[in-house]
């Protein structure tokens, strides 16, 4: 969609990518154009990838998910209106030009998109962005994974199981009761209740004493336990006392009394009955516990306790789970926030507060305790930690490895006596852990690892760290050669010495430490007007005033929060406003103000953006604080030896080498950060708070532009609403005075997030799903739109060795160094700074926008048509503005790095398609951006290189598509004069290059050919120019290969043939045949269409059909094409496009019979799976696990001072969206195959020493190596499809969805039977001999 910034008259390539981007969204609506927008494209790649569908953790992996509970009780309240409105709004939607098509109602999202397409930039764009935002945090970061999940303790579980026998369970239960009692006391229950509960507790104590000595356990264990218990009770008493005295103190403070009372009330009312109910189902609970420990023994330990808890509770509250999960995340985040701030007391108070709330208590897990214990450990306060330990155990939670690591760390830090250490070590052993595991599985920050080791060595002076694990090697049959040590050569070097790379790393690091980069825009070259100078001065003074005002407002608000009104919804934000220095918050807010477009922006988008910015900076701070950065720095220093020229050849892949260095480094912090990502609700709340400050604080004198008015400060930002049917959307708009001022100043600096810039040094290699790419900026391996932690979870669970091929492929793509094609860039900038050129895809400046007609008098007297005209003008201007800004960003970044060598770190979407991380300027961009990129590495052209350049040029022109390569080459030689003329006088000559499909790349290619052919020996000419090889309708190629479909294979060039086959023409022919028949039968529309059916009309639809374009989208595409034909009668547009899309679909069915079968099989399977309530999952032949993130969304309403916001929440318990799961499966599956093919090609090209990058199914390399790449590409295609892909898929799914082990006793349900039949019934394949691909010239060409 719009992210590449192709203009309205986008090139075919641009459109194609756009359409593909859409199709990720399953029912792709390829026809709806979105225009790029600076801010949106920050989310850009995101949209490209998963194309904005709600994602959420699916069900299958749910067992490893933390299951958690409660949350702030769902804020329902008075949101009726908003909810109702948004629902209604979804119904509304007709497309700008299209007749009101009631169909759009069926597809609410699409309806929205249409509305957006109709609106001006203001409405349209922010609506889109709003939608994007409501779906969850996008951007380069995604929420991380709770750190508990990094580890699985399966090895420990058998021993552990032995520990948990009946009596033990009962004691645990008693412990729970006891803890409950303690909490009641702890949370200051009025005296009467205390005594009552105390009685209960005493009773329990007695009972427990009777029970504990009774059961005969294995010898050492009960003792350890007994120790723990006695300890715990004394500690608990102490705690109780302390809390009580604290309470007394607090009572004296008048201010706190009220809120405390509120707290007490809550605690009392809700917990008393709880204690009772706990008693009654005692036996029941105990048995449940037994069962769970019996059955759950092969699950990760962390989950076990929770699972048991789940069993205890009746399963009647599935609705709560959403909130529970969110609540757990919130609690974890809050605690981590305290951890970062080192606020131990607050953290503990918060923990106990949560612990005493019945709802929150349910969701608390050992992780929460670990965080607080960690704070105490940092402070070396063993006594507090001990106490928490006992509360933890008393609450029935099992301390995990991290708990012990924290305890040991604390004891190491305060140099505890061996006795205490021994006690914990014994406990650790008795819980079934081994000391070595501490170092293998726990993640450490700062000097924690050393402290733990110190503690252990106090007891066992000879203890040695466990040896690092032996690196595993991927065993995929497709990559046997690749990973075999024998064939492994040294890794390709870059043209820099170690020292140079080191310097570049420092630059990159500095940039990331600054968070943002401010660069001169390419417009800076223009001369300044006196008016601009004046406006800039004015803006400068205003900004410094605003800065002070915001700072003051922030500090005031923080001060008011500190006051102990503990239960207010704001107070929970307080720690989040302390994470960064105040100045940084002010910076962030000012930046938002600067970037605000004159049309305004939706509140939700702004809030999300503000929240995310704070989060990103916080993460960087954490990395600094934990010492991770220092370690990365050290390792990177050594790592570049692998890449630097002149260094020793190393037989390692980047990932392997990095892992080796990490293992050798031994001590220090872990590189994976254990951060819980902030839930969307939190980001929004924080953002809204900041936004409110901003709106209130920033003022401008009203008379600043017009001195005649009285001077009165008025707000710069206004909160208004916009209406879409019954949907209202809150907007923040800048006052026109402000917009005027900004436009007068014509400032020429741009500020970007450092992650929006290409990297200045080779990216950090991906070594795990959460580590790689940028040095500091948080990047996820898999990008996702939503709050979905699900992909990431799936990746975490997947054995790392299975991900090696994918990680290596991404590293390979990211390690390609680039530079700027300066002559082309200069020409582009000159046009850009002149008047732009729509034909050449250089967006003109706003000064070229159509002027609205002069208004006749007062606006209230305008006629309707006149208003509409004005509206259209504004809309056009808004569109132009956003296109212009997009181009400005791209060109400015390119200009900024014009003398540098740079890198694009890569990540991928959920289907494995790879994307460069920097969103604006990258090689996936439009013709303009691609034309200014060159490989930094140069290679001689070799004997055939020049020919390849010429063929590439002809390919770029779009001419001679149906001719053989030789003919294209001959044609190039024929028009050599034109080519040289274009190269020499691009703007003054014959301008041959301008009339091509991809003019700018063609121009760049002309220049390269000119230079090469004029060099004394073209074969020795060093070329940096990338030559592309493009799959011809790659989706259909994969389908044809999957189905071994003879006729299909022939039409998409899998079969060697003298001339390239053109599937689009073939489809057009077929459609024409259908039309003729219909016309003969007297169908009016078929007769009207005579002579209008061409390749061009059907091309886009054919291209996107494999990627799941629907009839709706297809119709829009065709309508667009027909509109471009001037002679076509307008009144038939709808009918004709409707008819044509039907015929295109029919033709494809006719021509690709196997494709249809496979597509149907995939669709039907997905439908049945989704209907059974599960999410469609599969694994690519390279071992990448994939899950379709389409769920029925649910939204919660946030009541934030200024406005209520509706936030879509995602979670593992939502039902899958059947329609999307079904419609999107075939295209997603094909995408996962094409990405696999690309990765295989990338890896094998690496082994052959090639430079390789890809734009999905378009592969780039040097002219010298095109032949080698072509060969590898074909080999890998054959190898990939020689795997039994569909059979493997069928088996995988049968295993996953139909294995009846879970419910062996129940009879197989009907649906299950149907699903089984469906899945086993793999479509039959045809006669096509796959090996033929090897000799097919036009397979990729």
């Amino acid at each position: 969609m719009g992210w590449q910034g192709t203009s309205a008259a986008g090139t075919e390539r641009g459109e194609r990518c756009r359409a593909r981007g859409c199709c990720g969204s399953g029912p792709g609506d390829g026809g709806v154009r979105l225009w790029p927008d600076p801010r949106r494209s920050e989310l850009g790649p995101e949209r490209r990838g998963s194309a904005g569908l709600p994602c959420s953790p699916g069900s299958a992996t749910a067992r490893t998910l933390r299951r958690v509970p409660g949350s702030d009780p769902p804020r329902r309240g008075r949101h009726g209106r908003q909810g109702e409105r948004s629902a209604a709004a979804l119904h509304h939607g007709s497309c700008s030009s299209a007749r009101r098509d009631s169909r759009s109602r069926r597809a609410p999202r699409r309806g929205g998109a249409c509305a957006a397409a109709r609106g001006a930039r203001g409405p349209g764009m922010w609506l889109l962005r709003l939608r994007a935002v409501l779906r969850g945090p996008g951007g380069l970061r995604g929420p991380g994974i709770p750190w508990r999940i990094f580890r699985s303790y399966s090895s420990a579980s058998t021993k552990e199981k032995a520990n948990r026998n009946g009596p033990c369970e009962r004691t645990e239960l008693l412990e729970v009761l006891k803890a409950r009692a303690k909490q009641l006391q702890g949370s200051n229950v009025p005296e009467v209740t205390v005594s009552k509960v105390e009685l209960g507790a005493l009773d329990n104590d007695k009972y427990q004493e009777a029970v504990v000595p009774g059961p005969k356990e294995k010898q050492p264990i009960p003792r350890a336990r007994g120790d723990g218990l006695s300890q715990s009770s004394t500690w608990a008493k102490k705690l109780q006392k302390e809390m009580y005295s604290q309470h007394l103190k607090m009572k004296q403070e008048l201010g706190s009394a009220a809120s405390q009372l509120a707290l007490e009330g809550q605690g009392k009312v809700q917990s008393t009955p709880k204690a009772k109910t706990m008693k009654i189902p005692k036996t029941k609970a105990a048995t449940a516990w037994n069962q769970s420990s019996g059955s759950a023994h092969n699950k990760p330990r962390v989950v076990e306790g929770k699972e048991a808890a789940e069993l205890k509770r009746p399963q009647r509250m599935p609705k709560d789970r959403t909130n529970q999960q969110a609540l757990q995340q919130t609690i974890q985040c809050n605690l981590e926030c305290f951890l970062f701030l080192q606020h131990a007391e607050e953290a503990e108070r918060y923990l106990l507060l949560c612990h005493s709330s019945p709802v929150k208590r349910k969701v608390m897990d050992v992780g929460a305790f670990n965080v607080v214990m960690r704070i105490w450990a940092r402070k070396g306060s063993l006594s507090r930690l001990d106490r928490l330990f006992s509360i933890l155990e008393a609450a029935g939670l099992q301390p995990n490895l991290d708990s012990y690591a924290v305890a040991l760390q604390c004891m190491g830090r305060n140099q505890s006596p061996p006795k205490a250490i021994l006690r914990y070590l014994q406990k650790l052993n008795s819980s079934g852990f081994h000391v070595d595991e501490l170092f293998q599985k726990c993640l450490f920050e700062e000097d924690e690892k050393e402290m733990v080791l110190w503690a252990i060595r106090t007891v066992q002076p000879n203890y040695q760290l466990p040896p690092p694990p032996i690196p595993k090697i991927c065993k995929s049959s497709l990559l046997q050669d690749f990973y075999s040590r024998e064939t492994m050569g040294s890794y390709p070097k870059v043209d820099f010495s170690e020292k140079e790379l080191q310097e570049r790393f420092q630059q990159q690091l500095e940039m990331e430490l600054n968070n943002t980069v401010t660069i001169e825009s390419v417009e800076a070259a223009k001369p300044l007007t006196p008016q601009a100078i004046k406006a800039r001065e004015l803006l400068g003074t205003l900004r410094s005033q605003w800065h002070d005002a915001i700072l003051q407002a922030l500090q005031n608000s923080k001060r008011s929060m500190v006051r102990p009104k503990r239960l207010s919804k704001y107070s929970i934000l307080y720690p989040y406003l302390c994470l960064l220095p105040d100045e940084e918050y002010v910076d962030i807010m000012l930046q938002i103000l600067n970037d605000l477009s004159p049309q305004g922006e939706s509140l939700a988008v702004l809030a999300r953006e503000l929240g995310t910015k704070v989060y990103d900076r916080y993460i960087i701070q954490r990395k600094l604080r934990s010492g991770q950065l220092k370690k990365v720095q050290k390792i990177y220093e050594n790592y570049i030896q692998l890449l630097a020229k002149g260094s020793q050849p190393k037989h390692y892949l980047p990932r392997e080498y990095w892992e080796k260095l990490v293992a050798e480094a031994g001590f220090g912090p872990s590189l994976n950060l254990t951060t819980c990502s902030w839930p969307c609700v939190l980001l929004m709340r924080l953002g809204m708070h900041m936004l409110e400050l901003l709106v209130k604080a920033v003022k401008v004198p009203r008379n600043i532009l017009n001195r005649r008015l009285e001077s009165k400060p008025i707000p710069v930002l206004y909160h208004v609403y916009s209406f879409y049917s019954n949907w209202q959307v809150g907007l923040i708009r800048p006052h026109p005075i402000f917009s005027q001022l900004v436009s007068n100043a014509a400032e020429t600096t741009l500020t970007f997030n450092s992650s929006a810039m290409p990297m200045l040094c080779p990216p950090v290699p991906w070594t795990s799903p959460s580590f790689g790419a940028f040095v500091l900026n948080d990047t996820k391996l898999m990008r996702f739109m939503d709050e979905t932690t699900y992909h990431q979870l799936l990746l975490e669970q997947c054995p790392l060795v299975n991900l090696h091929p994918v990680l290596d492929a991404l590293n390979q793509l990211g390690n390609c160094a680039w530079k700027i094609n300066q002559p082309v860039l200069d020409i582009i900038i000159s046009i850009f700074n002149d008047k732009g050129d729509e034909k050449l895809d250089i967006p003109p400046p706003l000064s070229e926008a159509p002027k609205p007609p002069t208004p006749p008098g007062n606006s209230s007297t305008w006629s309707k048509t006149f208003k509409h005209e004005v509206f259209l003008c504004k809309k056009k201007a808004a569109e132009m503005h956003s296109l212009r800004m997009d181009a400005l960003y791209k060109l400015s970044i390119a200009n900024y790095v014009r003398d540098k060598v740079f890198w694009f770190p890569h990540n991928m979407d959920f289907r494995g398609r790879t994307y460069p991380c920097p969103p604006y300027f990258n090689h996936l961009g439009n013709d303009v951006t691609r034309a200014i990129l060159l490989f930094a590495e140069g290679r001689p052209l070799g004997p055939k290189g020049l020919d390849w350049l010429k063929i590439h040029l002809i390919n770029l022109t779009g001419l001679k598509k149906k001719n053989a390569l030789q003919e294209r080459l001959e044609y190039a030689n024929e028009i050599m004069e034109d080519i040289l003329d274009s190269a020499d006088r691009p703007l003054t000559g014959r301008k041959w290059w301008m009339d091509t499909d991809e003019p700018w790349q063609a121009l760049a290619c002309c220049m390269e050919i000119a230079k090469a052919s004029r060099s004394p020996d073209p074969a020795a000419y060093i070329s940096h120019f990338p030559v592309h090889q493009d799959g011809s309708c790659n989706g259909l190629q994969h389908y044809a290969a999957l189905g071994r479909d003879l006729s299909g294979a022939a039409s998409v060039n899998l079969v060697p043939c003298g001339l390239p086959q053109d599937v689009y023409s073939a489809v057009a022919q077929q459609v024409e045949e259908f039309r003729k028949k219909d016309a003969e039968r007297g169908l009016k529309i078929a007769q009207v269409l005579e002579g209008f059916i061409s390749r061009k009309v059907v091309k886009q639809t054919v291209m996107t059909v494999v990627y799941g374009v629907t009839r709706y989208g297809g119709r829009l595409q065709i309508e667009k094409r027909l509109k471009e034909i001037d002679e076509f009668p307008e009144e038939y547009l709808w009918e004709a496009s409707h008819y044509l899309v039907k015929q295109v679909f029919n033709s494809i069915k006719e021509m690709f019979s196997a494709t249809r079968d496979i597509q149907n099989w995939l669709t039907e399977s997905a439908k049945l799976i989704a209907q059974s309530g599960r999410t469609v999952e599969w694994v690519t032949p390279l071992g990448l696990p994939i899950i379709q993130p389409y769920y029925r969304s649910r939204s919660t309403v946030l009541n934030c001072g200024m406005q209520r916001l509706s936030v879509k929440t995602s979670n593992s318990t939502q039902k899958p969206d059947t329609v999307k799961q079904k419609n999107a499966f075939p295209p997603n599956f094909i995408h996962s195959l094409d990405s696999t093919h690309m990765m295989l090609t990338a890896l094998h090209c690496l082994r052959k020493g090639l430079t390789f990058v890809s734009v999905h199914d378009c592969y780039w390399t040097h002219a010298l190596t095109v032949d080698v790449m072509n060969q590898v590409c074909r080999q890998q295609f054959v190898a990939l499809h020689s795997e039994k892909i569909l059979q493997d898929l069928s088996e995988f799914m049968l295993e996953k969805y139909c294995s009846s082990s879970s419910s062996s006793t129940e009879p197989i349900a009907h649906w299950q039977k149907r699903l089984m039949e469906q899945l086993s019934n793999v479509p039959k394949t045809g006669e096509f001999n796959l090996k033929q691909v090897m000799d097919s010239t036009y397979f990729f060409s």
């Binding site: 007709s94 098509d101 008025i714 609403y721 504004k874």
Partner: protein, 392 residues
């Protein structure tokens, strides 16, 4: 103009029954008369099901339609429509979506000249045969009242209709706004998107477009009780006093003619369910026959059809946060002299949006119109952008 005829006598009625009604009624069991749940005569609608399924291509879901099914109710409605007028010759009445035509027949019996607008082709055919059996007293047109004058350009495709054509057929000429009611319309508002349809009518009235180009057309509509509650809500009731309320009360004289339980109506649902729309907290036990007569004095003062969309936008904007203070809202529209404005209007400073009377909004708007600041404020841009999208 339809030819004037003397009202049909009892004999005429009998003839009518024989000619028109009998074929339709022959399949009826007695129960439908008592407004039972099962309404076999609606089986005429059944064959349409396939067509509806075909139309599913265009329509998102099956539209639930409601019909007057029992003669008793038909008589009541007829009486309401006669409005105590002499039982003499009646003016033209446009009935939309008559369905099986039970009321139509009752009206014809009472001497009304009826023009029926029906979109379902099966009902349409039936009504046509009824039309043929009469002497010009009934005229049947294929079309959907709520798809009148669609916004999209291009050729009109039935059931979309244009008001020009319709009024030409009706033989009703445009009259000035202050003149008498030129035409009465009766119909049942489909519950799907009921609110939106009311909004659309309001827009049309304020802009004097579509049917209101011909003057103050009187609407007699069956709407759900909850919408009636909203239309007639009093200021201060923050939940039900809405933008729609303000605009409706300002624009229409709202008269409740009759309340009838939901069960008296037949629906197109296969299972005979009543499909009562959910109402939340509002009472919603009835279908209400409401007469909406445009106010004669609507376009006095500063409000004109040309600036009405701005007024509507202002009211909607005001009700985006109904409990906020008027002052704050005015400030947020970048009007910095709101103090003076309020003083001039004698509205207290701390007034809350949802406590203002509809007339206050009008006065406020007029005052704003007169202040030059209004045009200057960017509020105005928003109207431009939103008008089209607001106007369903």
């Amino acid at each position: 103009m339809l030819a004037r005829r003397a009202p049909l006598g009892a004999a005429g009625c009998g003839r009518l029954l024989a000619a028109g009604l009998r074929p339709l009624l022959c399949a009826l069991s007695p129960c439908w008369v008592t407004a039972g749940r099962q309404y076999p005569s609606l089986r005429v609608a059944e064959p349409a099901k396939e067509k509806r399924l075909v139309r599913k291509e265009q329509r998102s879901s099956l539209v639930v339609r409601r019909f007057i099914a029992c003669p008793q109710l038909a008589r009541t409605v007829r009486r309401c429509l006669q409005g105590g007028a002499d039982p003499g010759p009646q003016p033209v009445l446009l009935e939309f979506a008559p369905g099986p035509g039970i009321l139509t027949r009752s009206l014809l019996d009472a001497g009304f000249r009826v023009v029926a607008l029906e979109s379902n082709s099966d009902f349409f055919t039936d009504l046509q045969s009824l039309e043929d059996s009469l002497d010009g007293q009934l005229k049947v047109i294929h079309g959907d009242f709520f798809r009148m004058d669609p916004l999209a350009k291009g050729a009109l495709k039935p059931p979309a209709v244009s008001s020009d054509k319709l009024f030409e057929t009706l033989g009703v000429a445009a009259v000035p706004w202050r003149a008498d009611v030129p035409l009465k319309i009766f119909g049942i508002v489909p519950q799907q998107l009921e609110r939106n349809r009311l909004w659309r009518l309001l827009f049309a009235m304020y802009e004097c477009s579509s049917i209101y180009r011909y003057g103050r057309v009187e609407l007699n509509l069956f709407i759900s009780e909850k919408e009636y509650m909203v239309l007639t809500a009093k200021p201060g009731k923050s939940k039900i006093y809405q933008a729609l309320t303000v605009l409706a009360q300002l624009g229409y004289e709202i008269e409740l003619l009759h309340k009838e339980p939901w069960s008296s109506f037949a629906t197109t649902l296969k299972n005979g369910g009543l499909a009562i729309p959910k109402a939340g907290r509002l009472p919603n036990d009835h279908f209400c026959l409401v007469r909406l007569t445009p106010q004669q004095n609507l376009f006095t003062g500063g409000l004109k059809p040309s600036n009405a969309s701005t007024f509507i936008f202002m009211v909607k904007q005001s009700f985006a946060k109904p409990k906020s203070k008027l002052m704050d809202r005015l400030n947020s529209w970048s009007l910095d002299n709101s103090d003076r404005l309020l003083k001039a209007l004698e509205i207290p400073k701390n007034a809350v949006m949802c406590n203002l009377y509809p007339e206050d909004y009008k006065r406020l708007f007029e005052a704003l119109q007169n202040s030059d600041l209004f045009a200057e404020s960017f509020f105005h841009d928003e109207v431009l952008a939103s008008t089209r999208t607001m106007n369903l």
